[in-house]
Symmetry: C2
Subunit: 547 residues, 2 copies
Amino acid sequence: MEKSAFQKARDSYKPVLPKGLRTAVGLKEDETTACIANQDEIKAMFPNTYGMPVVEFVEGEEACYEQMNTGVILSGGQAPGGHNVITGLFDTLKKLNPENRLFGFLLGPGGLVKHKYIEITETFINDFRNTGGFDMVGSGRTKLETVEQFEKGYEILKYLNIRSLVIIGGDDSNTNACVLAEYYKAKNYGIQVIGCPKTIDGDLKCEEIETSFGFDTATKVYSELIGNIERDCNSARKYWHFIKLMGRSASHIALECALQCHPNVCLISEEVKEKDMSLNDIVDYLCKVISYRADRGMNYGVILIPEGLIEFIPAIGRLIDELNDLLAFHGDDYRFMSHGEQREYILNHLSEANKRTFETLPSEVARQLSLDRDPHGNVQVSLIETEKLISKMCAAKLKKWKESGKFKGKFASQHHFFGYEGRCAAPSNYDTNYCYALGASAAHLIANGKTGYMATVRNTTAPKDEWKAGGIPITSLLNMERRNGEMKPVICKALVDLKGRPFKELMMHRDEWSKETAFVYPGPVQYWGPSEVCDRTTITLALERQK
Amino acid sequence: MEKSAFQKARDSYKPVLPKGLRTAVGLKEDETTACIANQDEIKAMFPNTYGMPVVEFVEGEEACYEQMNTGVILSGGQAPGGHNVITGLFDTLKKLNPENRLFGFLLGPGGLVKHKYIEITETFINDFRNTGGFDMVGSGRTKLETVEQFEKGYEILKYLNIRSLVIIGGDDSNTNACVLAEYYKAKNYGIQVIGCPKTIDGDLKCEEIETSFGFDTATKVYSELIGNIERDCNSARKYWHFIKLMGRSASHIALECALQCHPNVCLISEEVKEKDMSLNDIVDYLCKVISYRADRGMNYGVILIPEGLIEFIPAIGRLIDELNDLLAFHGDDYRFMSHGEQREYILNHLSEANKRTFETLPSEVARQLSLDRDPHGNVQVSLIETEKLISKMCAAKLKKWKESGKFKGKFASQHHFFGYEGRCAAPSNYDTNYCYALGASAAHLIANGKTGYMATVRNTTAPKDEWKAGGIPITSLLNMERRNGEMKPVICKALVDLKGRPFKELMMHRDEWSKETAFVYPGPVQYWGPSEVCDRTTITLALERQK
């Protein structure tokens, strides 16, 4: 494997562990926990793993640890730092007992079910220290949900004499880890299950989980690119750049990038929903900003759009819901109609309110919503190029305004979508250290006999000496939600809090940013050099943890 | 202006000048030059600036310099380092005589003609040291070509008592600088004109000009992103990523990125032309690579496509030429036809060979070629989404191969276009120093009474102490070429040399890279840290200058 100069230099970086994990480690147990809602139901569903205490690792007494084998799984979309969770886990397991062994299940949770694995050894792992990507063992989107899968997994775990399993994933994967922990405990299989909070989307967090790993690096990569485009925009002075940012549901990524780069506009899906804005309201707002700047000679700017926006527009959400039902039910006769007939059919069957929404949609979007269904019968919203849709609608409205004399400028646009560029970047110093510590925490949770916990590292806005490692019972994060028509216990997704400090910061400045050109250029992620450049956290985290 | 931590830290970076420019500067004159072709014609057109010697700056004797005013213009597309040419120019002018003044013409050459300018002062310039973008004075695409423009420019230069003008631009802008230098000299206006080699495309180079500035930084930014996508590709293992890279004509950017990242395929426009490949030949080649990997379980990979590809495909180039003539001539009757009628009309009027090419094109491309003409009557090739076109054609061919049993894999694709992300990045250490030295060279060329020169900095693959600053007469780079139907003296564009070392390096490895997954991840541009990471040049330059 040929390596770049950067990779070689980065190989030798030594992540720093929180003080409590450096030498002999002790365990401090807090009060017992309850879950955030539906306590009785969830307590009943998780009799063996409910109500456990939050734990913290502190300096402790030297101890001897029995030999044990551990398995690890990367689940779902890539996030910078995944490899370092595994190196932190590996190094700590070896420190606890040099005879400990670590197995990686291949290509995600499917590897556990299909019994595909490798043993992770010192020589093998060294090539992956401080690197991006999930290519060490691969990842996958198989969901561990059924008893059959749990039993298939148990077969291979028993065969390899594995006593503990670490699942690195987002909210759904950690929900599944929680169910699996309960199942193995109830069955008395003697297998502990530990989760780790991963996702660039930043929507798996709470008081105890300051951030999901990868969010820091990914938002820095996107901010580098947005800053570069802003500088180009401000140099060429002829385009409006519409930039869509990955993040299927929550708008944390767009918000963080806006706080870093000060674009002219950053749409926040959660706000659109809260204010019951229509697509037309959004376009109207953008056109006002464009027109204001045009009146002052500035026919250029930068607009950030979160990927999940469309589904958060309440009217479109309701329309999609009704369309899903309608097309699922009338699928077969419908399929052989012409496009015109399909449109006619839809308009005849929709409720009045949704019909009005459907009629206002640009024709391509209407087509997209009428045609494509994924295997579950849902519309594939991600196929809608929201950035182009919105810019096209702006162009149409500005043309009308121009005719009536309301808009006097020029409007030309460029479109970008950033997602794949950031998911596998080399982890920032923050994610490098945070992930390594998460892996080390997971090892100590295992050594202390814990199951159904998620590894945590807290106080990460303080100097590294003051970082605190520990764990939180996953059950404490659960509530009941409807999924595929059934009520299920799931981890509550952390959407952008419209009363939280990061959003308020945006609100405080956005009027100024929309009028002036207040661009800030964050530059690329730096790994060496001044600490205020290399080691800064996200602005979101800094604001959230402000005392 | 609020600045990021990165911007603040970068403000204080001090570029290092080549030894010859550090203290007192002397001038070493080489032999006189001839131009690369059409010597007699060009000599006759440039009687005052033809045949001048190449010059180099060496340590010299302390001298006194008269006060003078200078103007500077940024011309054409942005490239990282433009601001540092101006800071190098400014600092050196002030060192030569603290009373010297520098004026920046606004928004490109148009600023000279329209008399829009600002004075560049110490406090003003400090905010732009080592930054990307051209926002210090803006840029523009007005071409300085007519006597009327030259005289308009002279008016303001005389008014501001400006005795020298530095034009920072690509091949066309430097050609125009050359014509302007000759004109002012012939008229005895006492105004010197100096050019500086700028373009991320890397196609303005020769023995004396090692690289155009911006190429280093832009290719590093694109390589960062390509590397990140490669890592994602190799982690998710489910997509072929088709990445189009900016570079209107030459394929230097794609080639350099390929040498840095080892993608599965990198198309080179110059090779496609040389081998007279058709669009179908290209697609066939790609499908063979995709199929080979699919047979070995690898349904994923990365393909780089230079932006200018379409026009280099000889059959399509010939088709476009004929279409341009056809549609320019028959424009009016044609405009009111339906799409079907237009297609019919085109097929009825094209020559046999071009008709066959037209018929093989996917319908959207055929439409694009039949419809859109820019104000000059040319087809807007840049509107064709080559990366999507090629991936679509691959999908269609693989589907046929699948039916016949020739292809047994899966094919899913993602598309990216990188351009705006790199043009205004903060300049790499290389471009920071190179540009600053170019600006300093320009100042010394002026101080030594030169005109019609381009500033040069050579030996840049050696340690900075051994860099050599100087200048080359622009006339020596000229040859006669047909432009808009007329023979004109222009700087010969440096396309990818199919016999040169960089292309040979690609040839030597590309078979292996197409079969194996040999990805290399260059990481983001680093400004601090190990020198082998921060100060490396491009691989193209290193190979070209290898002894």
